[in-house]
Amino acid sequence: MNPALFIADLRVTLGAFTLGPLSLGLEHGDYVVLMGPSGCGKTTLLKTIAGFMLPESGTILLGDRIVTRLAPEERHIGYVPQFPSLFPHLSVRQNIAFGPACRGLAADTLSARVEAVARSIGVGDLLARMPNTLSGGESRRVALARTLATEPAVLLLDEPLSMLDAPARRELAETLRRIQARTGIPTLHVTHHDEEARLVGGNCIQMETGKLR
């Protein structure tokens, strides 16, 4: 049995910057915090796994599927970007329903799924709101709920706790830990903050410019 996510000898070139080659494996139930300074390629790594950019060489395996060259919509990887990037013209409910609806979930199960996910993330009473009326912390949660509603095979979190005040950060970290414990979804969390790994209770891997240490 392959690990849930396996990255082998991945190399990504972005102008003058080169990421890797690096290898990484995530088992089901793993919560890995990848820590490194700004500009060391954390976001590039996540975007490559999510399919927003293509690697120069190397392989990305999801279970026993090779997804290295697949389009983002075919990978089934949940990527929560650093800036929530909610769809501004859709309500919170429509935002969360977007993914499952695109994957063809029937309308009756869809609304039940949206409400269940929203409740578990703690945004159940925001469903009718528009994104531009949400606070920073609320937007983060909605973005997380939007991704989790598609029941992704792997969850990629880009600086999920940055730019929040201390109580909001603790609460969101608590939510992340709870979700992870309940679903066991393998999670890769990148950050430049030492504190975050301790907050979410994950395994910490250090990253330097383009390399894992």
Binding site: F52, E73, Y79, F87, P88, C102, M130, P131, S139
Partner: protein
């Protein structure tokens, strides 16, 4: 003491004035107008006594002197009968009363504007409005009503100046001046900047130039002549041809330009910027040249146009198809440009995230990119439609018939002249403006991507 003496003088003048009037009235055997005047003179006395007892300064006696003096020496000479004279005096009294209030309770500049306005009105009355007392009385009443606010006062003066000096274009002038005043009063930057206000003024004077002919043409005609014009079958046909052809052209442009704009906004490829500037070519080419160029290719005596006309049986020049082709040609840059800018404003990250959530590229376009760009795209649609509907130069070469509305106006002007064309011009202006505002309004209903997009706190 001197102040008291001054006020006694005023009182004296008022009383003697009253006596003079009484004598005149009795000599005229006390007609209703004379009685009316007597009553009003009672008012003058009461006001003088009131202001004297309240001891509210020297300005009020001066005001009374001026008013009564003006009335005695000027008003009396101009007014044709005692009733009119009395009405003027009554209005003057009201003005005096309001003036007292303005002087007591409002900032000094209100008072200055008020007094200056009063004298200016008198001057206009004497110099410009000869024998139009009712109008003067009306102006004076309006002025007292506007005294509270300098803004109202500026509207008032815009109306007075327009009505007295800008005949026969008074209503057009009023509209334009009101617009300018509203803009200037409403102008607010964070920090008031004199430079910005001056720039606004400079710009507005150009707006004046643009607005004036439009408003003049629209207001110049009565409804009856517009209706007559609208009943003319030839005009109706022309309006119909314009409506259909410009709508078809815009639809064609929409179908081709929206995908092209999306591609231009999302793809980087060699020749992209060349393609973009090529799309602007129709703006640069003189429209008549464009029309001749189209005719050169698609006219029925040319190779391609001839093939269309003979083999396919679809002649292009002189038909609806030709009109649409010419309109598409000249209107394309407007839609394409707006759409490219609108799609470029949609963050690419949103699209990638939508795809990562499971949406196919078509779904991303349909549910994310297009809705967010819709407003900008529809602004382009409105501009392109307007351009197509108004096109003359290119269309007249490709298809002088069937007549579109602009060509109908041109032909009518050439055959029967300015006066006969004016109602048509008003009609066409009304139609275009109505359509334009309608489309603009519907644009407002679409979500504004710039206002909504993820400004995170």
């Amino acid at each position: 003491m001197t102040r008291m003496r001054g006020q006694l003088v005023v009182l004296g003048i008022a009383v003697s004035y009253c006596l003079l009037y009484a004598v005149m009235a009795i000599a005229n055997r006390l007609d209703p107008a004379g009685l009316f005047n007597l009553l009003m003179l009672g008012g003058v006395i009461a006001t003088s006594v009131y202001s004297w007892r309240k001891d509210s300064g020297v300005l009020i006696p001066v005001g009374i002197i001026v008013m009564v003096g003006a009335h005695t020496f000027i008003g009396q000479r101009i007014a044709p009968d005692t009733l009119t004279s009395g009405a003027i005096l009554l209005t003057s009294l009201l003005t005096l009363y309001v003036g007292i209030k303005v002087n007591l309770y409002l900032p000094r500049r209100h008072w200055i504007v008020f007094v200056a306005s009063f004298f200016a009105l008198y001057a206009i009355f004497i110099l410009k409005l000869d024998n139009a007392e009712p109008l003067f009385i009306l102006f004076l009443l309006a002025m007292t009503a506007c005294a509270r606010s300098l803004r109202l006062m500026s509207y008032f003066w815009a109306a007075v100046v327009s009505l007295t000096f800008c005949q026969p274009y008074a209503w057009a002038a009023i509209l334009v001046l009101f617009f300018v005043i509203t803009a200037l009063h409403g102008a607010r930057g964070g920090v008031p900047s004199v430079l910005a206000l001056v720039f606004l003024g400079v710009g507005l004077s150009l707006v004046f130039l643009v607005l004036l002919p439009v408003i003049l043409s629209m207001l110049g005609e009565d409804l009856h002549s517009l209706e007559l014009m609208f009943r003319d079958p030839r005009i109706r046909a022309a309006i119909g041809v314009t409506a259909v052809s410009s709508t078809v052209s815009t639809a064609v442009l929409f179908v081709f330009c929206v995908p092209l704009a999306y591609a231009l906004a999302r793809l980087q490829f060699p020749g992209r910027s060349f393609l973009l500037s090529l799309a602007d070519l129709p703006i640069v080419i003189p429209q008549s040249v464009a029309g001749i160029a189209i005719l050169h290719v698609l006219g029925r005596r040319q190779v391609i146009g001839g093939w269309f006309a003979e083999t396919l049986g679809i002649p292009i020049d002189g038909t609806m198809l030709g009109i649409c082709l010419a309109q598409v040609f000249v209107a394309m840059p407007f839609l394409l440009r707006s759409a490219v800018v609108a799609f470029e404003a949609v963050p690419e990250d949103l699209e990638l995230i939508a795809r990562s959530l499971g949406a196919s590229p078509w779904n991303v376009f349909r549910r994310i990119s297009f809705p967010l760009a819709a407003r900008g795209v529809f602004v382009g649609v409105v501009l392109a439609w307007a351009r197509a509907a108004g096109e003359f130069g290119a269309v007249v070469f490709v298809a002088p018939t069937p007549e579109t509305a602009p060509i109908a106006a041109f032909n009518r002007f050439n055959s029967v002249g300015m006066a006969e064309t004016a109602p048509l011009v008003s009609l066409l202006l009304l139609f275009s403006l109505a359509m334009f505002f309608l489309l603009q309004l519907s644009t407002r209903l679409l979500p504004d991507a710039n206002n909504l997009s993820g400004r995170h706190r």
